[in-house]
């Protein structure tokens, strides 16, 4: 018989509405899996079992009365970067290890209104700074495909949880690839919407001109269902964009005949592992069979995206994280001898090594005498990269390439070398710099580990991206694969 955790979010949602099972049954089922499997995976920092059972009960009542929201009763895990009223919200940091959020993030509020049932909060790289989930104060997350491997980051807990079927969806955030890279490394569909599409209110800030919330799900259809209720204008986020949210589900089945796909020349050069490249090319052949046309395009400034990002993101991070001062909330050192000592030791002890590295990088590039040489120059190169994308989208509908140069790597393999770690995001950062929507879908495995195909679209083309991903998933089985031991 089909187990509840084998069903996609769309199937669970349909089953709830047809009363084939109740929300309480779902919550119990997934909470039992979390209890059994989370101690090994370390994917969740907080499990909110009691609240979940109460929310599931309410969802069942609403489903019975016919007044339920579109996702009523569906279990979900929130990345611990989203503020959840009355619930511990750590951002993976010692700095916030005692922080009980006093309000809900807009994403949390909107999804609650839609009726989702939160099961807990997912582990993550500290303040979303990392590509392997090894910078978390709460310890590394294991990849359910191979427990010796990282699940990617920074949304590593969200990805491991969904891949292990601990919930059909987890929220996530993407500043330089933090949704797409873990999606690729754990065999999931990971969607980063256009900058401004989903509210950043209540989402703890890392780099405000890049941060964007999205989803990790099994399928593109599931992502469409969740994004429909997550996206939208929010007056409380000054960079939220006031454009209508289309029905992402309605356009999923549009035919792909005539679709123009741009192959990013720069993505297939240098650093891409051969076996990963082979799977990407096979995926492109599937699109050709579906009637799409492949065109090679070049974005000459794209190779500069990683150095651009490692100036812009730390600069914004150093500014954003100055709010953690040991005075109003968060960690405070013992026995400060004066105010300066309080600031310095609270921050020195409260932040981990990578976060401190990025704060110092940012402080330096913004300091007098270096601002023009680093920060201003990086902002100019950011425009060159953005213009490259705009030119490409004059020729093609979407761009495709790998999400990550290699499948999941060993825990501990790259922790001592920040540059090697930063280069993991070489294919994902461009979309963040240009504010473009992008997603990763599974397209096969190498040595038993999943590989992701990345699809990038023009601003606000989420419906097209989901349509293109769904078309592939109707033809291929990769999104249905469940890691061994989690069936």
């Amino acid at each position: 018989m089909t187990e509840l955790h084998h069903l996609t979010l769309a199937e669970l949602n349909e089953g709830l509405r047809a009363r084939r099972f109740s929300s309480v049954e779902l919550a119990r089922h997934f909470l039992a899996r979390i209890e059994r499997m989370n101690p090994t995976l370390n994917a969740l920092i907080t499990v909110t079992a009691e609240q979940a059972m109460a929310a599931a009960q309410r969802a069942d009542e609403l489903l019975a009365s016919g007044e339920a929201g579109a996702l009523a009763g569906v279990p979900l895990i929130h990345k611990d970067i989203f503020c959840t009223d009355g619930v511990l919200t750590t951002c993976g940091s010692r700095m916030l290890s005692n922080f009980v959020a006093p309000y809900d993030a807009t994403v949390v509020e909107k999804l609650s209104q839609s009726g989702v049932v939160m099961l807990g909060k997912a582990n993550m790289d500290e303040f979303a700074m990392g590509s392997s989930n090894e910078t978390s104060y709460y310890g590394p997350v294991k990849n359910p495909w191979d427990l010796k491997k990282v699940p990617g980051g920074s949304s590593g807990g969200s990805a491991a949880a969904v891949a292990a079927r601990l919930a059909p969806v987890a929220t996530a955030t993407d500043t330089g690839g933090s949704i797409r890279q873990p999606a690729a490394l754990t065999g999931l569909t990971g969607l980063k919407p256009t900058y401004g599409r989903v509210s950043r209110y209540g989402m703890i800030a890392f780099a405000s001109s890049l941060d964007q919330a999205g989803t990790l799900t099994y399928t593109a259809k599931d992502a469409a269902l969740v994004l429909r209720d997550m996206a939208g204008f929010d007056p409380r986020d000054s960079t939220s964009v006031d454009t209508p949210v289309p029905d992402y589900v309605a356009s999923l089945d549009e035919p792909l005949k005539g679709l123009k796909i741009g192959l990013l020349k720069e993505f297939f050069e240098g650093g891409l592992e051969e076996s990963t490249g082979k799977l990407i090319r096979e995926a492109l052949q599937v699109y050709e069979r579906l009637g799409a046309q492949l065109v090679e395009v070049s974005l000459p400034n794209l190779p500069l995206s990683v150095p651009t990002y490692y100036v812009v993101a730390p600069a914004e991070c150093s500014s954003n994280l100055s709010r953690f001062d040991g005075v109003r909330f968060g960690y405070r050192c013992e026995d400060p001898k004066d105010l300066l000592d309080l600031y310095k030791r609270s921050r020195g002890e409260g932040f981990g090594a990578e976060v401190k590295r990025r704060i110092m990088t940012g402080t330096y590039v913004l300091s007098a005498g270096y601002y023009d040489a680093y920060y201003l120059r990086a902002q100019k190169v950011r425009r060159l990269i953005t213009d490259d994308f705009a030119r490409a989208f004059e020729q093609v509908d979407v761009l495709m390439g790998p999400t990550s140069p290699t499948p999941a790597f060993d825990i501990g393999a790259k922790v001592d070398d920040p540059i090697t770690m930063y280069l993991n995001d070489i294919y994902t950062i461009g979309a963040n710099l240009a504010g473009l929507p992008a997603l990763s879908i599974p397209c096969g495995t190498v040595g038993g580990l999943p590989v992701g195909l990345q699809i990038i679209g023009p601003h606000f083309a989420e419906a097209k991206l989901l349509n293109v991903a769904h078309g592939y998933q109707k033809e291929t089985p990769w999104h249905q694969a469940i890691p061994k031991g989690y069936e």
């Binding site: 005075v327 105010l339 110092m360």
Partner: protein, 96 residues
């Protein structure tokens, strides 16, 4: 480019971060590597390029009517504070 111990200590001071003596050489090494790495940006021709601060063109900061939208929740907010007395956040003495 090679930073010195003094540079790193100065950056850490500006960022209000206490570093132990053992941590200083670790950051000298990794920050020097990072600044070498980002020096690739010097190769780009940016002479006539406007800096880009925001990914969406033509976005402006919105204005809203000056109305009170939030209500006083200081008791709830101060529940997260390390030290509070008489509704005030406590810090070490600032003025002698």
């Amino acid at each position: 480019m090679s930073l010195t111990d003094h540079d790193v200590k100065n950056i850490a001071h500006l960022a209000r971060l206490a570093l132990s003596e053992e941590q200083v050489p670790v950051y000298v090494d990794s920050l020097s590597k990072i600044f070498d790495f980002v020096a690739q940006l010097n190769a780009a021709d940016t002479a006539s390029v406007e800096p880009m601060a925001h990914p969406l063109a033509d976005q402006v900061q919105r204005m809203r009517p000056d109305e009170v939208l939030d209500h006083d929740q200081h008791v709830k907010y101060q529940g997260n504070a390390p030290r509070v007395e008489a509704d005030l956040y406590l810090v070490p003495k600032v003025i002698e």
